[in-house]
């Protein structure tokens, strides 16, 4: 097989057809989803504290710009393979607060019929794979979808996510190696939020930045500010279109902070308070609101109206979810095996 020197010159020679900036209309939409992301999770946390959500409750507070803007950069024909702090992306791709609350509240109206929990919100109709809890386990799967796209001659791209902790699990390395060797249309977002549960990055890996690993897989990449939705969108859109044009995989490391615990039960006392205070100043939602106002994209009144619309939607969907049916005990043994119809394949 010919060695990979061609790849490097191809990628530096590639130039995008347009600058990847959010239009004003798009910026409004991105704000909407970011606010929706945060508000849904705040509501879920409240339900958890009331004991209505059992098991686990996760948040992506501080990650909204990454979660939303990366997914927003996808076309409909692209594929979204999330990790655990990507409800913003789920919402962009068509999941609703009702789906999320149905899932958390264990109702049959969840796309998983409550067979799986919290952030494992797979949705076969939207072609969103429902993750498992093992980190990096879905990276090979995401590469497989990209491989299938390539085999079928589709110009679809697959986006996938991993964290600063998950990037150290075995499947991370195997998947990236495959993406590089097979030159897959695969864009990986390494969401560096500085902590993996209670473990800071200094105890997690020895390289300076996780993006330093990219050349090791024959892949190019970049590190960006994950608190700025415009930067996140532009870089991701660039990487996706580059992959679509056949220039291979790309890795983007986004810098944010995990502003809450690993999950709602975690008081995260191990994070220095000064660190939280410093990152609060870079809150992606506050930044977005600032930009909307200074660039005259939305007025204060319009922003408040949007926020209120979101609150109303959430309250309606919570009520709907609380009223939705619980699964029948008989459902336990249903669905272990698939039927022989050709429904529900991703390429239908």
């Amino acid at each position: 097989m010919a060695k990979k020197t061609a790849a490097k010159s191809k990628s530096t020679a590639w130039s995008p057809k347009a600058e990847y900036l959010l239009t004003k209309e798009q910026a409004k939409e991105v704000y909407y989803y970011m606010r929706l992301n945060r508000s849904v999770e705040e509501r879920a946390a409240a339900l958890y504290r009331q004991g209505k959500i059992v098991g686990g409750c996760y948040s992506s507070t501080g990650n909204e710009a990454v979660s939303v803007a990366t997914a927003y950069a996808l076309e409909k024909r692209d594929f979204f393979v999330p990790l655990l702090r990507n409800f913003g992306g789920h919402l962009v791709r068509g999941q609703t607060p009702f789906h999320i609350f149905s899932q958390y509240l264990g109702r049959t109206t969840s796309p998983t019929r409550a067979k799986d929990c919290n952030v494992h919100l797979g949705n076969i109709k939207l072609k969103i794979p429902g993750i498992i809890s093992h980190l990096s386990a879905y990276m090979p799967l995401a590469c497989g979808i990209a491989l299938a796209c390539k085999k079928r001659g589709l110009d679809s791209v697959v986006i996938n996510y991993i964290g600063n902790g998950g990037a150290n699990v075995g499947e991370f390395h195997e998947a990236l190696n495959l993406a590089g060797v097979w030159r897959l249309p695969f864009v990986l977002i390494i969401e560096n939020n500085q902590y993996a549960y209670s473990t800071p990055n200094t105890a997690q890996y020895a390289c300076q930045d996780l993006i330093d690993r990219a050349p090791g897989y024959g892949i190019e990449g970049a590190k960006i500010d994950g608190t700025d939705a415009f930067t996140v969108y532009g870089t991701t859109k660039w990487a996706i279109e580059r992959a679509r044009a056949g220039h291979g995989p790309y890795i983007i490391q986004t810098e944010t902070m995990r502003m809450r615990g690993h999950a709602e039960h975690d008081g995260f006392e191990y994070v220095p308070k000064s660190m939280i205070e410093a990152w609060k100043k870079k809150d992606p939602l506050n930044k977005m609101v600032q930009t909307l106002k200074t660039e005259k994209i939305m007025t204060e009144k319009e922003i408040q109206a949007t926020d209120q619309k979101i609150q109303d939607l959430i309250e309606r969907d919570v009520e709907k979810a609380l009223a939705a049916p619980l699964p029948d005990p008989e459902e336990v043994t249903q669905g272990v095996f698939a039927d022989q119809t050709t429904e529900n394949f991703f390429f239908n």
């Binding site: 796309p111 998983t112 067979k115 799986d116 494992h120 797979g122 949705n123 076969i124 794979p129 429902g130 498992i132 093992h134 386990a137 879905y138 990276m139 090979p140 799967l141 995401a142 590469c143 497989g144 979808i145 990209a146 491989l147 299938a148 796209c149 085999k151 079928r152 075995g170 499947e171 195997e174 998947a175 190696n177 495959l178 060797v181 669905g335 272990v336 095996f337 698939a338 039927d339 022989q340 119809t341 050709t342 529900n344 394949f345 991703f346 390429f347 239908n348």
Partner: protein, 324 residues
């Protein structure tokens, strides 16, 4: 029709499936240019090209996971483990990803994983394993263990066509030892239906894989001593043909269960449990197991031969059960 070895029958099955369905493609280490460690895929790279017969890096978790992703899209990847022993490298992908997807969110995973398995080739602890027990135990997987060339091809076709993840354990000791006249073209052997490899009246030997051949080898000698064994070839562990298991002991009242996987909690243990619970009234003697010992698989020929089930061990168990 043509006479084919067990191995050639599998090659045939792969070729016919590649020809018939453009969504079928193969992945594995050294399967393309080299034709595979056992030459099962010999000639397929030349016939179908590198897109349909892919040589992978050494990354079992990576390429099995990739197979899962491609299967979700509707392609039909057939992944080869170079030896079944390496399946533990992708254990997480199989038991937690592939096996649970449909149950959790309705995705379909028409993935087939072919595993050259079993001992008797002096391969030592990591080239001789029969890991089917781990996967029979895991909900959401089909487990297929052909014992004949005819079944190897027909079960492979059924496995590839099935919309669920299938683990296909082809026994490497049988590869070149068994020959049979088999049909050309495509044919299926249904999953979940056992076969009566030999009819008999006195003791049922319920087996799969290499143990079917061992039981058939023991049959003649036992016949001469007036013991007629019925050999039931399970063919598939999941779905398991429970009816066949109960029907044979209804007939004979005595059973020996033979399997090469380690004895403790191995696949045959489930057969024994079924017999003890649902076949109790038919039994006139305790049920015996002949299985791989509860040890890692040793290398030295004398040690490996002590470890493995054999016609002699099956015959001894049959005699004890017959005499009870």
């Amino acid at each position: 029709m043509a006479v084919k070895t067990y191995l050639e029958a599998i090659t045939d099955g792969l070729r016919e499936c590649l020809k018939a369905d453009p969504d079928v493609f193969l992945m594995g280490e050294d399967i393309g240019v080299f034709g595979g460690a056992f030459k099962v895929t010999k000639g397929l790279f030349e016939e179908f090209g590198p897109e349909r017969v892919m040589d992978t890096p050494i990354s079992e978790a990576g390429f099995v996971g990739a197979g899962i992703g491609a299967a979700l899209c509707g392609l039909r990847p057939v992944v080869e483990m170079q030896f079944s022993d390496f399946i533990s490298c992708c254990f997480n992908q199989i038991v937690n990803v592939a096996a649970t997807i449909h149950y959790r969110w309705g995705g379909k995973v028409p993935l087939t994983i072919r595993c050259p398995s079993g001992g008797g080739v002096r391969g030592g602890p990591f080239h001789s394993q029969s890991p089917e027990g781990w996967f029979m135990h895991t909900p959401g997987l089909y487990v297929v263990c052909p014992a004949t060339p005819y079944d190897a091809k027909g079960l492979l076709v059924s496995s590839i066509r099935n919309n669920n993840p299938v683990l296909f354990f082809e026994h490497k000791w049988l590869y070149r030892r068994l020959k049979e006249d088999i049909p050309d073209g495509l044919y299926e052997v249904p999953l979940g239906v056992a076969d009566i490899a030999r009819e008999g009246t006195d003791v049922s030997v319920i087996a799969y894989g290499s143990c079917v051949a061992h039981a058939l080898d023991a049959a003649e000698g036992l016949e001469k001593d007036g013991i007629s064994i019925e050999v039931v070839d399970l063919r598939t562990l999941v779905p398991l043909d429970k009816e066949a298991i109960l029907n044979t002991v209804k007939k004979t009242s005595r059973a020996v269960v033979a399997y090469e996987d380690h004895i403790v909690a191995g696949p045959g243990s489930e057969v024994c449990s079924i017999l003890a619970n649902e076949g109790f009234e038919y039994l006139d003697a305790p049920v015996e197991r002949v299985a791989g010992l509860q040890t890692p698989i040793p290398y030295a020929p004398v040690l490996e031969d002590t470890y493995l089930p054999s016609p002699q061990k099956i015959a001894e168990a049959v005699r004890r059960v017959a005499a009870f």
